[in-house]
């Protein structure tokens, strides 16, 4: 279905010329031209070596050409919360952020715990401009008690299961989920939070929460659950555990332990967790309120180390749009979450690459090969012949200022309004079609 809004001519073939390809999955980091045809990568070769003709050409001189970025964790708010975001607006924001694929969280109204809803989300009628891969609920209504029908959900297109927003708290239910996931080779994504320790808490527990007079979530509330889950993952053969939005250094220790023991444990980290600290809450600014919360300098430092050394598998935004009236309230009552699709690459290049010298190849890996591997997104996360024609073209040196008012999201809850960045998406190509082009 052609989206009436984007009257872009759908070229059957597109040649991306003159760019520098970074494709960690294919171990390519060199000037290459890329030919896309009929929605796939037809050819990738050194400059000027591609003989075949193309209907359209894209001049990528001075730019990085990467496999289309994949965001493992977004809240597109459909069904039921269209006032915060829709699949159309959320995917438009994704495209503007360089993402060609997003995995949607099921904590909507109602919760996506049936094949019908998974199919509904994937229907082109929803107006998505990038690929949408639903993550379905692990338990009915995400109440944490009875497992959903993982097999049916997987057949319908779910790439993983989760009760995100909430943890799977019960030991037996989590073990059962990992066991069933193992049988189906389906990852279980855990929002690791011991909610018995975080009731009425609105930020990280530390000197800042004490000073602000706010109840804080201790780091142990996350670390204890990750610790337990990693133990389960080690005990249950072939189980796949993916730790969502990991934010504490102690949780990283548990993930390392699991990986060393060869358990199939993966984890993702958000840009705000590698950039900000609890003290950035400042004077009760709810644009710095999310769950898990911004943490201590020690935690951020551990995250930076883990991003560099490979312990972290993916950068995922946890894009969580909320209406203004849900954020412009008392801090402890404000909704948890911030948007993130349009600032992720900029934060990665500015903070990780420019400030912390993490190589661009590693950054691209965190947006492409890493996430593709976590959820087995075949044909994605790389630009080898036959792979889907999902491409992200970016300028790693471009200086720009992010203006929240110009965001394509319906919501404006971001802490990064007015931030000056180095690194900008120039074009986003999905299935061979340019769905975003920088102005």
């Amino acid at each position: 279905m052609v989206n009436a809004k984007s009257q872009r001519r759908e070229a059957a073939s597109l040649l991306i010329k003159g760019g520098h390809v970074i494709d960690p999955a294919a171990k390519i980091n060199a000037p290459m031209d890329v030919l896309l045809r009929d929605g796939r990568v037809a050819e990738i070769a050194p400059p000027n070596k591609i003989r075949a003709s193309a209907e359209e050409k894209f001049d990528a001189r001075g730019l990085i050409v990467a496999p289309g970025f994949i965001d493992l964790h977004v809240h597109l708010r459909e069904p039921g919360q269209r006032y915060k975001e829709t699949i159309a607006t959320g995917t438009a924001a994704a495209a503007a952020g360089g993402f060609t694929s997003v995995c949607t969280m099921p904590n909507t109204l109602p919760v996506v715990d049936s094949e019908e809803w998974v199919e509904w989300l994937r229907d082109p009628e929803r107006g998505a401009v990038v690929n949408v891969f639903p993550i379905a609920a692990a338990t009915r209504s995400s109440r944490g008690a009875t497992l959903t029908d993982f097999a049916a959900l997987q057949r319908a297109g779910a790439v993983a299961v989760t009760d995100d927003g909430k943890p799977i708290l019960d030991d037996e239910v989590m073990r059962a989920a990992l066991r069933l996931g193992a049988e189906l080779n389906l990852p279980v994504v855990q929002h690791a939070e011991d909610t018995r320790l975080t009731e009425t808490c609105s930020m990280h527990e530390g000197p800042t929460s004490f000073r602000l007079g706010l109840r804080g979530m201790p780091a142990t509330a996350e670390a204890n659950i990750v610790d337990r889950d990693v133990n389960f993952a080690q005990q249950i053969r072939e189980s796949r555990l993916h730790v969502a939005h990991l934010s504490t250094s102690d949780a990283l220790k548990a993930v390392r332990r699991g990986k060393r023991a060869k358990a199939r444990v993966t984890c993702e980290v958000t840009p705000h967790h590698f950039t900000l600290l609890d003290e950035n809450v400042g004077e009760y600014n709810t644009n710095f309120k999310m769950n898990p919360p911004l943490r201590s300098a020690t935690d951020r430092e551990a995250i930076l180390v883990a991003l560099a050394d490979g312990t972290v598998d993916a950068i995922a935004t946890d894009h969580a749009p909320h209406a203004t009236h849900e954020k412009q309230v008392e801090f402890e009552r404000a909704a948890f979450g911030i948007t993130g699709l349009e600032t992720a690459l900029a934060l990665a290049i500015t903070k990780l690459h420019r400030d912390h010298k993490i190589p661009l190849t590693r950054i691209v890996e965190l947006f492409t090969a890493g996430p593709a591997r976590v959820f087995d997104l075949r044909g994605r996360g790389s630009l080898q012949r036959g792979d889907f024609a999902d491409v992200t073209v970016f300028d790693p040196k471009k200086r720009w200022t992010f203006e929240a008012a110009k965001s394509r999201s319906l919501s404006r809850n971001t802490p990064f309004d007015g931030w000056q960045f180095t690194g900008k998406v120039v074009a986003t190509i999905v299935g061979g079609k340019i769905v975003y082009r920088t102005d």
């Binding site: 006032y83 000197p207 004490f210 602000l212 007079g213 412009q328 309230v329 008392e330 801090f331 919501s411």
Partner: protein, 312 residues
């Protein structure tokens, strides 16, 4: 798109009092000096024609009546808006309530609210002064000021002074504001209580703070004993045995003797006789608890004059 509120926010209006933490030393000293000149019985009507809204989302005897008397003694009119019996019961948001009061003609709003940061939220969206009368566990600036005022009536200065704050510091906005203020002027503040009520992080609140778990250590050689209310339900919720707590932390006349001879005993109220302190301590010669309440009026007069009066 959401047009109900905009994200555009302003700086709090001049004369607002949101916290002690962000007041400058000279502002604190200026307020104390102004308070000394205030006489509730014979004040200049410098706030005549000013409308002060008292927006109290939480119960209060002392603070509310004290602000009311302070305002009226300077010629202002006051209107009390409490959550029960107002549209707040119907779910009206804080900001909508703020806009409403502004539209009705408030010149200043004094707000007490159970959520930390509520006055700050209001102040960022209004062009009139907002006075924090207590926001959740965060701060109670006017209490810290009247406590400072009271201390200075009995002690020559803050220099070299030792103050012990005993009780539930974790939940206490009074303690936080007091720590910010006293620490600013070089007072050595000792916090005392069990770890659940006095966490280690508390030290980082302001310079010069110490923690001890032993009341004897806190009291030895102290000039000022500040007691805080302890809620039985909280202790129960934290699985702290009430008898144990009282055995270790209740203020008694014999414990009082550990402090300096002229040490004063303070409490922001409401007091629970027999819990955090005995009746003998409350009614004893070293207790200045009633003075504190009395001093609240001139201190709040100074706060309101700073907010709305011409003499700033």
């Amino acid at each position: 798109m959401h047009r109900l509120y905009s994200y555009a926010m302003n700086k709090p209006a001049r004369g607002s009092l949101l916290s002690i933490e962000h007041l400058e030393d000279k502002e604190i000293l200026g307020l104390l000096k102004l308070a000394r000149r205030m006489n509730p019985l014979k004040a200049r009507p410098q706030l005549r024609n000013k409308r002060i809204m008292l927006l109290f989302y939480e119960a209060s005897t002392r603070t509310r009546s004290s602000f009311e008397i302070a305002a009226k003694s300077m010629g202002a009119t006051t209107t009390l808006v409490e959550s029960s019996g107002s549209s707040i019961e119907k779910g009206e948001s804080l900001l909508d309530t703020a806009y409403t009061l502004r539209a009705v003609g408030a010149d200043a709003i004094v707000i007490r609210h159970p959520a930390a940061g509520a006055p700050h939220l209001m102040a960022k969206h209004l062009d009139i002064p907002v006075i924090n009368a207590g926001d959740g566990m965060h701060e109670h600036p006017s209490q810290a000021l009247l406590d400072a005022f009271t201390i200075l009536k009995h002690k020559k200065s803050f220099k070299g002074l030792r103050v012990a704050i005993i009780g539930d510091i974790y939940h206490s906005r009074v303690a936080r504001s007091a720590c910010h203020l006293l620490s600013r002027f070089g007072v050595k503040v000792t916090l005392c209580g069990p770890p659940e009520l006095v966490p280690e992080f508390a030290i980082s609140l302001a310079p010069g703070l110490h923690i001890t778990r032993h009341i004897e250590e806190a009291l030895r050689g102290t000039d000022v004993i500040m007691l805080l209310r302890v809620q039985q339900e909280r202790l129960a919720g934290m699985k702290i045995n009430l008898q144990d707590y009282m055995a270790r932390y209740q203020m008694t006349t014999s414990r009082q003797k550990l402090a300096k001879r002229e040490a004063i005993v303070m409490h922001p109220g409401p007091i629970i006789r027999g819990l955090e302190l005995t009746s003998e301590v409350v009614d004893g010669p070293q207790s200045v608890i009633v003075d504190e309440v009395r001093n609240g009026v001139p201190v709040r007069m100074a706060i309101l004059a700073r907010a709305l009066g011409k003499a700033k």
